[in-house]
């Protein structure tokens, strides 16, 4: 049986991404993820939520960011939804040499990090309304969860 997902909705205020981050961390721990994986998820969720706040909802405090988390068959599934229209164009790959030479903005690291920290990410996931990022993190060996948590 699929479990009912956990939902969190946040106002679009920078700093609030920390709430979603801690929520996701605590969910992942509950499901048996090890500390290093939990840290990866924390950074990924924080970056996706900051993007939803800044780019998706343009820091309009009245717009919500919705985070949905579910655990199913050894996989943690997570959605970050904003009320925007998604990516206007494919973001440029960050290049540290160019950043240090001031030939590229020092920003633009969020997407890069998310891609490397989770097992799968879709930056343009289907959603009824607005825009969503979907990520997936697999529990290694699929052991812990069902054994430790009934």
């Amino acid at each position: 049986m699929k479990e009912v997902p956990v939902h969190i909705s946040l106002p679009s205020v920078l700093g609030y991404e920390r709430i979603a981050m801690e929520c996701a961390a605590s969910f992942a721990k509950l499901k048996g993820f090890q500390p290093d994986k939990v840290d990866d998820l924390k950074t990924a969720v924080s970056e996706a939520c900051m993007n939803a706040i800044e780019h998706g909802n343009r820091c309009n405090a009245g717009s919500n960011v919705l985070v949905i988390m579910q655990f199913n068959e050894g996989e943690l599934l997570l959605w970050v939804k904003d009320e925007g229209r998604g990516f206007k164009h494919k973001p440029e790959e960050p290049n540290i040499e160019r950043k240090i030479m001031r030939l590229q903005t020092p920003r633009g690291l969020g997407i890069f990090l998310i891609k490397r920290l989770v097992d799968h990410v879709d930056f343009d996931a289907a959603t009824d309304r607005g825009h969503a990022v979907h990520m997936r993190l697999s529990l290694p060996e699929r052991m812990a969860s069902n054994a430790v948590f009934k």
């Binding site: 920078l14 700093g15 991404e17 920390r18 290093d36 840290d39 990866d40 950074t43 924080s46 970056e47 900051m50 960050p94 540290i96 040499e97 950043k99 240090i100 030479m101 001031r102 903005t105 020092p106 920003r107 690291l109 969020g110 890069f112 990090l113 490397r116």
Partner: protein, 114 residues
Amino acid sequence: MGNENQIVIERHGTVTLLDIKGDVTSASESFFSQAYANPDASGARGLVLNFSEGAYINSGGIAVLIQLLAKTNKTKQKVGITGLSDHFKKIFKMVGITRFATIYDSVSEAISAL
């Protein structure tokens, strides 16, 4: 963004320690640039940036660090980084920060190496 830093500046001969208290986010920008504006920092041969244990560091904070490294790269100052958890060591390597700064396990190690 939601946090304040306190950056304590400490000279150790030709090396200067910037002891960064608190989380590092885009809100840290003015704290970093003010700290670097101090002659003890901008004039040092080497800089050690010590992050606090358990600090939250996000991509906005890394961007602030990159801006600092753009300056130290121009002046050819050596930079050491300490106080990072294994997770943020990994993140700093991923992003390529470690091509412009060296991660050390302790402040004293960093100071004597620079």
